[in-house]
Amino acid sequence: MKTSSSIYKIGGYLLVLICLNHVAFAQKSDSSQLLLNMDAVYNRPFLQAGSFPVAIGGYIEAQGEYFVSDGITEGVSFKIPRMTLFVSSTITERIKFLSEIEFEEGTKEINIEFAALDFEFHPLLNFRGGIIMNPIGAFNQNHDGPRWEFVDRPISATTIIPATFSNVGFGLHGKTYQKQWVWAYEAYVTNGFNDQIVANSEGRTWLPAAKENVDRFEENFNAVPLITLKTAIRHRKIGEIGLSWMGDVYNKYEEDGLLLDQKRRLDVVAIDFNTSAIKNLDITGEWVWAFVDVPATYSQQFGSQQQGGFIDFVYTVLKREMFGWENARINLALRLEHVDYNVGSFEETGGNIHDDLQAIVPAISFRSSSQTVIRVNYRYIWETDLLGNPTAKTAGFQIGISSYF
């Protein structure tokens, strides 16, 4: 939201930051083995001044890259994909507030990604209201740049699941512990998608187009709320697996009492997992399916089914004091990605509709601490167009830094 009022709000947050001269670094421990992806929003380093009830934090990402697509390059490019500010407050013992405001690519976009109040009635019954990150998959909730060894976000998590995807609404969440296990759930009703997901200039079913509706924090596009459900379970020594779903009617089927179209549904299902069961090796993955009721008489280039996912392997090859930093680490990492934006076949020929891509991303990263990372990626992407014509190949190197502050 590029409004001047948003900028004033940001200014207010910065003022709070300036006022906090003498601060203590009250970082929450990230060593717990029973934290879930849903905890990521609170599991961040915050700065807090003594007993002052407000804590602040944030993170920044900066990167440079050089890519070549089928022999053509646009040269070296640098950007700040995002800088994010957090403000949290424990209003009373069991009422918490947290907000996350993101500046993307300078001030090209300013978004409130999360701004919610949590009321804890019982560990299994928390009421949350405000701007909520819909718990679909894991990355949407656990997306902070410093947590990842890769410069770019996973393609499926940003183009099928439109991370970061947040909406205004309410819901419940809770979790319970049993020896080595923790189980959690989340259930929200929020504003949701709109018909731009099949009426956009990307020329494909494109869920991120819903985010272009600047009114979505003000009113629902149609009368039907988006429902998002997630459940996850973690074993202390094995890892976590989550299953999530969100469903909505995305089109404006009625206005002023006039029927404009039939109701058309969108359903997204995701499964995510992560494990550190093998010493020094972290494996994280997510797979998503999207089902969209696209009118049969609309263009087949807008797929009614999409699927994709990624799997990350991060291996710590060195962990010791380096350059004066205790517990510094060097990681080698590998990401494998696949996205199919249009699962189906042509009515005219029966041939496969392509519109898919594969990517492989080897990486090396240096972490002076768990909150800060310098990473170098090599990225190779194979893209096939709708018809299955010769694959377009893109490859390049990226260097990036990211840190909480």
Partner: protein, 400 residues
Amino acid sequence: MINIKIKVLPVICFMAAIIYSCDEVFPEAPAENELLDGPIGALSFSEQNRFLAGDVAFNDEIFTPESGLGPMFVATSCGSCHPGDGKGHPFTTLTRFGQTSPGQSTDFPAGAPQLQNRAIPGFEPEKLTLGTPFMKFTPPAVTGLGLLAALTDEQILKNADPDDVDGDGISGIPNYIDPPDYFQPKWFHQAVNAQFIGRFGKKAAAIDLLQQTATAYNQDMGVTSTFEPLDVATDLSVDPEVSDQTIREVVFYLSTLKAPIQRDPETYNVIQGQQIFTDINCGSCHIPSWTTPESDIPALSNKTFHPYTDLLLHDMGPELDDGATEGSAETYEWRTPPLWGLGLSPDSQGGEFFLMHDGRAKSIEEAILMHGGEANDSRGSFEQLSDIDKQKLLTFLKSL
């Protein structure tokens, strides 16, 4: 915890192997003769800028309901019909109907001349009434069109032989078209009864690239302009949905796309195949070479090029008579399609061939065997070739 000791060196070697396995660190550009897109040589800086603007409008601009798509349409962008500037796929085949005899200009049924077989959400597309004659047109490649547009009517008419005076069985008839209001004749256009020779389209129904482009925006995407201001869904005028400037940039882009470059022209089989092509008289209609006169675009002036077409209509026999037509063409007459770029067709048609006007031929050989009418003799000669000579001819055609 499972303790697996992995040495650093093997891991690094593994990472290096992954990078190495990606063919090359940075993907190389395909050979120039493997691509259809790209500008004709010798464009000035300002012309390159116009080319780039047209390229973006043609290949990147996807229309949405908000930006003017539909409400009824066939495709959402120019590039979806002509991927990589090449031939299209059956997915975007056009259905033409309404005119059933030459010169018929009234009493078209509603919705003619093109079926709008898709619609934006909330709208219904058109459907053909049962029994209505129709033609299906696979989108053609758009490369080299500026060179064809630069030819004079006099050059085209030199190959016309409507009454087969020379007795070779090949006629060659120009399709005379009523020009749209916005058509501005150039020095090389010759009017006959206020009509002009059509050059573009399966029936040669478009006189120049402006007409071809403006009608494509209108009839293919449901996008109106000052040139074609009527909405195809209502036949009523609406505000222009694409600017004159954009249409002119696209026309310039189409005018300055390079001609397809032949591959391996010096190899034995290609040379032999070219000789067979001449021997069995394919070149009577698929005229190999032309030379442009002076053009207002310097890069198009005095250029000899090899499209393998005469831009004229020919009787192709009853099997290719769809019962519908355009302009002064008979229902069984079709414009000789250019053969340049033929071998690259699968690169834009999803790895397969969809040839002839409606994509019914799945290979070059199948397409040759579908030739009838004036091409009967050439088809018969092809059938009598030895397998080796057939392969040489096909190798030559694939090299184009």
